[in-house]
């Protein structure tokens, strides 16, 4: 075990834990923002520099401060380490700078972007950025690439976090896409136009922190905050079948994997579950999902009491009849 001090809070974590994950054991607003790091993806992290923190003492053995800010997502703790995050002005200034850099080539088209309401960059900019820009140059644009019927690529919005590349490598076999070009001319794309439709490839949509990869079967159907996430599962031979159904009225508009409080997918889902099972009858409903990360969604307090048979049996007859005619959700078995 290693004891570290993080913004004055003492934390004890197993050796080898990263600074980021140590902070996550405490949770709340001290957790550094992460745009590229993604726990389920091996090798992710270290790229966006959103999570840089100051290490003012390396360890008990070597208490010297680290000369540069370090990426908390890939730097392991050492016993006796002292880390400053929210209490360090340099860190906060750099973070502001990172937001500014990321927004250079990310259009603020939130009004028409399907990621609005659950966009990590939106949250990051809101919490750490400034509301003006000093950038007056031309911004980059891209020719459209068609990557098939399931996934829409909006390269303009990509912040090159590489999460989708790691997902394609580690989760969906037969990767056909990756990073092409370099510098600010780098782009996500398929080398020689190609379709991305391997099973599990839909997970790239879930890991994309911005609206660069969106679900073609749900695009433009609704703003996310007008939909209701409901936990559901089905017997799937390929994946766990544990998903979120996003309802508008009685319609399932979108299906995604379930995520934890840091927006990280808990279990990958297959493309069949994601794209092809859009009927309530395909699923066993577990009940409304608790969403506490993306404030816009949770602001609507949509959580309904879980309906179960014994509760329904106690309701007045007219209500029962109404429920039967118009079931809000498929009842749990």
């Amino acid at each position: 075990m290693a004891k570290i001090t993080f913004d004055g809070i003492e934390i004890e974590v197993p050796d080898g834990t990263t600074i980021m994950n140590a902070a996550r054991t405490v949770g709340g607003s001290i957790v550094p923002p992460a745009m590229c790091y993604y726990t389920p993806l091996k090798g992710s992290g270290g790229k966006c520099r959103a999570c840089l923190v100051k290490v003012t003492a390396g360890s008990t053995k070597d208490p010297r401060p680290m000369p540069k800010l370090v990426p908390s997502c890939i730097t392991s703790v050492q016993d006796g380490m002292v880390v400053e995050n929210t209490v360090n002005q340099q860190v906060l200034d750099v973070r502001k700078g990172i937001v500014e850099m990321l927004l250079i080539n990310h259009p603020l088209d939130c009004p028409v972007c399907d990621q609005a309401g659950e966009c990590d960059l939106q949250n990051f900019a809101f919490e750490h950025g400034v509301s003006t820009t000093r950038y007056t140059e031309e911004r980059r644009t891209f020719d459209k690439i068609d990557i098939g019927p399931l996934i829409q690529l909006h390269m303009t919005r990509c912040i090159l976090c590489y999460r989708c590349v790691y997902t394609a490598n580690q989760v969906a076999g037969d990767r056909v896409h990756g990073v092409l070009g370099r510098g600010d001319a780098a782009e996500i794309g398929t080398y020689i136009e190609n379709i991305i439709d391997q099973d599990f490839s839909g997970n790239v949509i879930d890991v994309c922190p911005v609206g660069a990869l969106t679900d073609k079967t749900w695009r433009f159907k609704s703003r996310v905050w007008f939909t209701k996430p409901v936990n559901a599962h089905r017997d799937c031979p390929k994946c766990s079948g544990n998903v979120l159904l996003w309802y508008k009225g009685k319609d399932v508009l979108r299906i995604t994997a379930r995520k934890d409080e840091y927006g990280e997918v808990k279990e990958w889902i297959c493309n069949e579950c994601r794209f092809e099972k859009k009927e309530t009858s395909d699923w066993t409903i577990e009940g409304p999902a608790h969403i506490d990360r993306s404030s816009v969604i949770s602001a609507n307090h949509y959580e309904l009491p879980v309906l179960n048979h014994s509760v329904v049996a106690d309701l007045p007859e007219s209500t029962q009849r109404e429920l039967e005619k118009n079931p809000p959700l498929k009842l749990g078995s």
Binding site: I98, M101, L102, G183, D184
Partner: protein, 446 residues
């Protein structure tokens, strides 16, 4: 003229062949090391020599070697960094094309010291002709029993491969180089783990510059102590400088570290002064990534003496007045040089070469280039000058690899030392935008 350790025989006819090279004392270091020294003793000599890495960072080579992890049963590698893409630096290419056997000899002796049985020379893909020269020399070394199994009957085996890269500046950064050598996109890795622990194919690896490896040859031949006698202080031995720009005699010079800058620029033995009888304006002493210095600062210390060409003398004073010896790419600029245009040109390079992994470098290098482009072309504003410094600061220290600094320093240093020239580009926009226009005033010193 000072002593030459690496280039003494460079002009000998046929020195690129095994036979002639051998006749001039070639491969003695291999014989000496393999037959009379243990690997640790070789490392010890290199430590004693005080040799500092010639690839740019100047890290002590012997110390780097002693950091190499030596887990039981896991192979280790030596990789020679022959990418050489820093603008202004062109010494390795020269050394390899003229003296291929010197590098191979250095590779054998160094690999022996490190316990590496497979070593690589990663060469810039555009240098196809050098690659061919090296390949020919390597096959000669195999044929003469200096490579392969049981070299000189010592029981030591070594295979040496040359690998051409795709030709990207970033592939000269040691971890990007390893990625590229493994057949992947040349993206730098986050450190730690350092290559000495987890390098090529996740095995302990040393990455050294061509010149560093070549320098091991005289170090073993004459002993580390002899080598350390040359030079000044912690800057021991000789160093190749590739001098270019507005000099009467641009070229590659092997000098003993510690020659005064003034002598290097003006004496006939070296660069022979500034061309066309003009005045010197500024110098970039160690390749385009190191901070530029105006003439007055490079030539005189505060005490008024000539500044020496050593690692320490160039970097003392930190980054306010200091610069770095870097890779020895010495670029001289005469009085007609437009600093804004030059900075833009450097900036364009780093923008083009950023790998694009981390946000500050990917976005910041492009931003700086565009602002510099505007300033140079007469569309700049006064605020742009501080903006440049601010963006450079946003990049510096916050990136995965040092390309961030390489992009930020030249811009920050140019503004620091030549701010009035940047301002003139705003106040006299039309005039400044004319091709060949030069700021008429004098640079203000920091």
């Amino acid at each position: 003229m000072g002593r030459k350790l690496l280039t003494e025989h460079i002009n000998v006819e046929g020195i690129d062949t095994f036979e002639v090279y051998r006749k001039h004392g070639g491969y003695r270091s291999v014989e000496k090391a393999l037959k009379t020294m243990t690997p640790d003793e070789v490392v010890e000599e290199v430590k004693k020599s005080g040799l500092r890495g010639r690839g740019g960072a100047g890290f002590p080579t012997g110390m780097k070697w002693s950091f190499l992890a030596k887990p039981e049963g896991i192979p280790r590698h030596l990789v020679c960094n022959a990418d050489e893409s820093e603008p202004g630096t062109f010494k390795d290419r020269h050394l390899m094309s003229k003296l291929p056997h010197l590098l191979i000899e250095g590779m054998i002796t160094s690999s022996y010291a490190l316990g590496a049985n497979t070593s690589y020379i990663y060469i810039r893909g555009e240098l196809l002709y050098v690659l061919r020269i090296l390949e020919k020399a390597i096959s000669e070394a195999y044929a003469n029993g200096f490579l392969g199994k049981n070299i000189l009957g010592s029981g030591y085996d070594l295979d040496l491969h040359v690998h051409p890269g795709g030709g990207a500046y970033i592939c000269g950064e040691e971890t990007a180089l390893l990625e590229s050598l493994e057949g992947k996109r040349g993206n730098p890795r986050n450190k730690p783990p350092f290559p000495a622990v987890q390098g090529l194919y996740a095995r302990p690896t040393v990455v050294n510059n061509v010149e560093s490896i070549a320098a091991v040859v005289p170090i073993i031949n004459d002993g580390g102590d002899e080598y350390a006698k040359l030079g000044v202080g912690k800057s021991t031995g000789t160093k190749l400088f590739s001098a270019c720009g507005h000099l009467n005699k641009p070229g590659i010079y092997e000098i003993e570290l510690g020659v005064p800058v003034e002598e290097f620029i003006y004496s006939d033995e070296y660069c022979g002064g500034i061309w066309k009888g003009r005045e010197l304006k500024a110098v970039v002493a160690g390749g385009s990534s190191v901070p530029i210095l105006p003439k007055e600062l490079i030539l005189k210390t505060a005490a008024g003496e000539n500044r020496l060409m050593t690692y320490e003398s160039l970097s003392d004073g930190g980054f306010v007045t200091g610069t770095m010896l870097g890779s020895g790419g010495f670029i001289a600029m005469d009085e007609t040089t437009c600093i804004v245009r030059n900075t833009w040109s450097f900036s364009r390079f780093y923008h083009h070469e950023s790998c694009g992994q981390c946000s500050p470098c990917r976005e910041g290098t492009g931003w700086m280039e565009k602002v510099l482009h505007r300033l140079e072309h007469g569309h700049g504003h006064m605020e742009d000058i501080d903006l440049l410094v601010s963006v450079a600061k946003q990049i510096e220290g916050n990136t995965i690899c040092p390309l961030g600094e390489a992009a930020a320093w030249p811009v920050a240093a140019a503004v620091r030392h030549f701010r009035d020239e940047f301002e003139w580009h705003v106040t006299h926009a039309k005039e400044a935008a004319r091709p060949g226009a030069v700021y008429p005033g004098k640079a203000v010193l920091a």
